[in-house]
Amino acid sequence: MNFKPANESTTRRTFLRNGARLFGVASLAGLGGVLASRSQAQNWVWQIDPQKCVRCGNCATNCVLEQSAVKCVHAFAMCGYCNLCTGYFEPEPNALTTAAENQLCPTAAIKRTFVEDPYYEYTIDEKLCIGCAKCVEGCNRFGNGSLFLQIRHDRCVHCNECAIARTCPGDAFRRVPASQPYLLKTTHAH
């Protein structure tokens, strides 16, 4: 048999073999790219933009979890530590006490602690908070707006299509990098 050196001219078989190898390498590279982009996509999470939130109540009722992953959070730097906290008290409370009938929160998830006359500190018990935003509305309407809603990522199951986002009338839900998963409120110039 008389074989020609491979480098002299390419046979059909060699051409097809090389082509198949090249295709394999390209496929692997493409697959790697797809996997890389998918893993990058997993690094984005849902969050609520507090500036867009309209306190509609959907966060409490539309989450796929039995108790919503959305919770009220508190920017203490913005808080006035008010005696008459409109996020804590009913619009016309009988008295400024912690009695249940005076509290705005339907689950009594806000704790009121005396600091010094006339200041009180308000903290959220997240186990009780259902994310209804009633306190957020009271605080924004009459106060400094230090209470606001956020998706808590220790509870969120990271649905691809967030059930609350689909019905959010304020279009306040958006994806944020998992490395910076919260959109916090800060003080602003007057």
Partner: protein, 337 residues
């Protein structure tokens, strides 16, 4: 087996169409009712009943209205000759009762408050210092900043003194007319029985009454306080309530003015309303209720309640000028006959 397409008879066609329409209608109505129930918020924070004022309580009527000449209007003041001064944007402007402009002074930063002495000297508060102008607008002096984190929001002028409300440091600063700081008034002091000012948001005002005592709002405590010019605490009045007779929210009243007979004209945010109280603090009447300032009421809500607010000034005839800081409207209100 080949299926043949057959044209329906007219009766069959209409029958089928009616059936389809009925099914589609049922689905649409079900969806609509679903959307309606979804739009109703079971956790709604409802204060709509507080946004309506009993007409019997309203003792004033609007006589004229005009716009502040620049955006971001903050405060108004009236001089002894009834000229109205408006702090808006980087300007201080002077107007007659119809709103016609008489003077405009440009500043290097937003103007926040002003007061005019009997001789026409203008004291203009910027964020961290006071500037003094002659009546015709030439700059006379620039006073030194009072110290750390000042946020000047109110000025009152007496015969020999100028009192400046510094919301940043929660204190009334007493200056002499040359700009020398003489005294700090209202800082918490248990030995002198001074409770201290609570200022959750930057609204803090001071006025001098005919009796020579300072009137100062203490918005975090929902009350007005009286001080001597030497800083002795003389008394206070005010009730915490969302009802018409009280002050509510984090901080109200935010601004105020004094009528010639010593009565108070108070301004509130959250439930934006202007009311008159007697010289001893009893509620008397409403100048303008929440329904007058609907846009201002909406401004408190989207993010916080520091965006809303009103200011008032009183002329020598007892007419009340109200500045809506959201819309920039200046209303002249006169007592009903």
């Amino acid at each position: 087996m080949k299926r043949e397409f057959q044209l329906s008879s007219r009766r069959e066609f209409f029958g089928q169409a009616a059936g389809t329409m009925a099914i589609l209608g049922a689905i649409a109505s079900q969806r609509a009712s679903g959307a309606e129930s979804q739009s109703k918020n079971p956790f709604a924070y409802d204060v709509s009943h507080l946004q309506k004022t009993d007409p019997k309580l309203i003792a004033y009527e609007e006589k004229s209205r005009w716009k502040a000449p620049h955006a971001e209007a903050k405060r108004i003041a009236i001089s002894a000759d009834d000229t109205l001064y408006v702090c808006s944007g980087n300007y201080l402007t002077a107007h007659d009762s119809s709103g016609a402009s008489k003077l405009e002074i440009a500043a290097t930063e937003p103007t926040r408050c002003c007061a005019v002495a009997k001789d026409g000297t203008i004291f203009l508060g910027l964020r961290d210092h006071v500037e003094v102008f002659y009546a015709k607008g030439q700059r006379k002096a620039i006073w030194e900043s009072p110290g750390k984190k000042p946020w000047l929001t109110g000025i009152a002028v007496a015969e020999n003194d100028v009192f400046v409300a510094d919301a940043g440091n929660r204190v009334i600063l007493r200056y002499d007319k040359s700009g020398k700081l003489v005294r700090r008034i209202g800082e918490k002091d248990k030995e002198r029985n001074i409770p201290g000012f609570i200022i959750p948001s930057p609204f803090f005002d001071v006025e001098i009454s005919h009796d020579g005592l300072l009137r100062v709002n203490n918005p975090g405590r929902h009350r007005m306080e009286l001080y001597t010019s030497d800083g002795d605490f003389e008394g206070s009045w005010g009730v915490t309530s969302m009802g018409i007779t009280g002050f509510c929210g984090c901080c109200n009243p935010i601004n105020f003015a004094l009528l010639p007979d010593g009565k108070y004209v108070t301004c509130e945010k959250g439930l934006p309303r202007v009311k008159v109280y007697s010289a001893t603090g009893e509620f008397e009447s409403v100048v303008a209720g929440v329904e007058t300032f609907s846009e201002n009421a909406r401004a408190c809500g989207p993010s916080d309640c520091t965006a809303g607010g009103l200011d008032a000034a009183v002329d020598s005839h007892g007419r009340i000028y109200i500045l809506d800081i959201v819309t920039g409207d200046v209303r002249m209100m006169q007592r009903k006959a």
